[in-house]
């Protein structure tokens, strides 16, 4: 069974894109560190990498909504990639996908921004 931990890392790509790598479980525990990671980022666009996430629950969705709201207030664009089919469906059902662009993987995300 996957652990309860959540980790986050900010990666600055050479081409200027900023990526927030999420790892582990996205639930309410993720709020503080994810928001802190978001504050570190700069630029008009920020990408969320979900490829190392194994579990997202409704409190995690609330955390992501919180980050989307922050980006929206600053006029920044949010993209996401690395979601499993299931969480892609969840993002569609919850309409998160209407407010962030979902890409298949990092390459697609970076190319789209270039």
């Amino acid at each position: 069974m996957p652990g309860e931990e959540f980790e986050v890392r900010v990666v600055e790509r050479d081409d200027g894109d900023t990526i927030i790598e999420l790892m582990g479980t996205v639930n309410r525990v993720a709020k503080e560190s994810l928001e802190a990671a978001y504050e570190e980022t700069e630029g008009s666009r920020v990408l969320l990498d979900f490829s190392k996430v194994d579990y997202i629950n409704s409190t995690g969705i609330a955390v992501i909504v919180g980050v989307l709201a922050m980006a929206r207030a600053e006029g920044r664009v949010v993209g996401a990639y690395g979601l499993s089919d299931h969480y892609r469906e969840v993002f569609q059902i919850t309409r998160l996908a209407d407010f962030m662009t979902i890409y298949d993987d990092e390459t697609a995300a970076v190319t789209a921004g270039a």
Binding site: M1, S58, A62, A69, H86, F99
Partner: protein, 530 residues
């Protein structure tokens, strides 16, 4: 001596004596009422001034009586063409006839008295009307209060069913009522009724009928027997001219079977895949005669079917041309499936369109809508007879954050051989996680000593996961679609996704609250989604 006869429109003519001490050698003339239509009235109105009785030759009883009383002169008091009263005068003390000057004086006196009397009469009438209005208003308020207190404050929330009701009193508050009675074994009693008469008397009879129905509903399983019992009890309790029409239906929320009986009320309509049907059952209204029996009918509601119960305030509403709304139009409207699924608003909207926006509502309007939204049994039965459920596993978890993950793992282990599609497995994981998390946080309020029970049951066609908490808190709320725009704009908390997500993940989702426990049942069809 002068007597004034005062007449009021709404009353019998009556006499008001003017109290003055009598001089010696005088006597009081009893003023004689002039009944409406008496020929004397016509003569007085046409003459307009003092009239000597000796000059009259009329077939009038009043005139005869006046003569016997010794009346010599009569002076009509006329206001706005109406005989308000008259001055009656006996012989002059000097025994001389009344002179022209006397008559002039009396005529001018009368012309001044008459308008004053008219004003006094109007003032009195207005005071009486104001009093009456105030009394009516208070009565209406009392009636409205009784009714509002006794009508259900909440609608039943039953998974797989959508129950809605509408009640709008007329200005004079009629006697409409409706009620929901929770019975054993997932059965729901649905009542709609109408007391003849309006105002406080109707509200009191409505209150009596309601409590009798509630008590009888628990004594009998048959709706006909319930109505019979209430009828017999009501006969001695209500005034002879009053009665109560009532339709009572028992809905089996597991099977969709509706058994109903009718005491002279509007018949229910059912919309199903083949159209609209009227459900017929006959019987006398309640409270008229002892020993009545009531027909029972049975009808089964399938998923998607809607049953509509109404009061005659709808069918008997009129438009400006004086046409009645009527049963055919109601039946036609019930047959139209509203785009947003809101049957009550669609029917009320159509009625308002018919009567016009400013029409005063003639009678109470009551609507009860019972909709079967979905059913695990239905989706299962589409594949043939379902087998008996098999319990695959039971678990319990302390109410500590994170235990939802253990619950997911437990459920996954026992369903692994059922051949669910991988997307279904993922959805079930999310649904179980959210449900158990709700049970821990909201149901058991994170009290670790309280357990969350999880039972997994399979039939040939479904997997059911039942999650029960023991916190005894508030009922599980209705599922609402979160407003993501408002959340992103910071107008709403970003939270509140759990229930919505659960509802989206599984094929059916039911909730039940019994004796301080809440159970959520998640149903996943085993052969593809619904």
């Amino acid at each position: 001596m002068v007597q004034i006869l005062r007449r009021r429109k709404t009353e019998e003519p009556r006499v008001e004596a003017v109290e003055t001490p009598l001089k010696p050698n005088t006597r009081l003339i009893d003023a004689v009422p002039i009944p409406p239509g008496d020929p004397l009235e016509t003569v007085l109105l046409s003459t307009g001034g003092p009239l000597e009785l000796s000059s009259l030759d009329l077939e009038s009883e009043a005139l005869q009586t006046m003569r016997e009383q010794g009346v010599e002169l009569i002076v009509p008091l006329i206001g706005q063409g109406e005989l308000l009263g008259a001055l009656y005068l006996g012989p002059r003390l000097s025994d001389q006839p009344y002179s022209t000057d006397d008559r002039k004086l009396l005529g001018s006196l009368a012309s001044q008295v008459a308008p004053a009397m008219k004003v006094a009469q109007l003032v009195r009438e207005q005071q009486a009307e104001a009093k009456e209005r105030e009394r009516n208003h208070q009565e209406m308020q009392v009636a409205a209060l009784i009714q509002q207190t006794l009508l259900p404050q909440d609608l039943p929330s039953i998974s797989g069913w959508g129950i809605d009701a509408f009640y709008r009193p007329a200005r004079a508050v009629g006697g409409d009522f409706y009620d929901f009675i929770h019975l054993d074994d997932g059965r729901l009693g649905v009542v709609i009724g109408d007391v003849t008469d309006k105002g406080v008397p109707a509200a009191l009879v409505m209150a009596t009928s309601r409590s009798m129905l509630r008590s009888a509903a628990h004594n009998h399983t048959s709706p006909g027997a319930v109505l019979s019992e209430v009828n017999n009890a009501l006969v001695s309790e209500i005034p002879p001219a009053m009665f109560v029409t009532c339709l009572y239906a028992i809905v089996d929320t597991h099977t969709g079977e509706v058994i109903f009986a009718n005491a002279g009320h509007n018949l229910p309509y059912v919309r199903n895949s083949s159209g609209v049907a009227e459900l017929r059952a006959t019987g006398m209204p309640l409270g008229l005669m002892l020993g009545m029996t009531y027909d029972e009918r049975t009808h089964t509601l399938d998923a998607g079917d809607v049953m509509v119960l109404t009061s005659d305030g709808i069918t008997e509403a009129h438009n400006v041309e004086g046409e009645m709304y009527g049963f055919p139009r109601l039946m036609g409207r019930v047959g139209v499936k509203p785009k947003d699924g809101d049957v009550v608003s669609a029917l009320v909207g159509d009625l308002e369109q018919f009567t016009g926006p400013d029409a005063e509502q003639e009678d109470d309007i009551t609507l009860v809508v019972v909709k079967r939204t979905s059913s695990a049994q239905d989706s299962a039965s589409a594949f043939g007879e379902s087998t008996d459920p098999v319990v695959l596993g039971t678990f319990n978890f302390a109410s500590e954050e994170g235990n939802e993950r253990a619950a997911i793992e437990g459920v996954m282990e026992v369903v692994s051989d059922l051949g669910l599609e991988s997307s279904q497995v993922e959805r079930l994981k999310t649904a179980v996680g959210e449900t158990v998390m709700n049970a821990i946080e909201h149901g058991n309020e994170n009290r670790p000593e309280l357990m969350v029970d999880v039972v997994v049951v399979a039939t040939d066609h479904t997997v059911q996961v039942r999650v029960t908490d023991h916190g005894g808190g508030k009922a599980i709320p209705e599922v609402e679609t979160p407003d993501i725009e408002a959340k992103l704009a910071g107008e709403q908390t970003p939270r509140g996704w759990g229930l919505f997500l659960i509802g989206q993940m599984v094929d059916d989702f039911r909730t039940e609250s019994v004796d301080g426990t809440h159970t959520v049942e998640l149903v996943m069809n085993r052969k593809g989604r619904g």
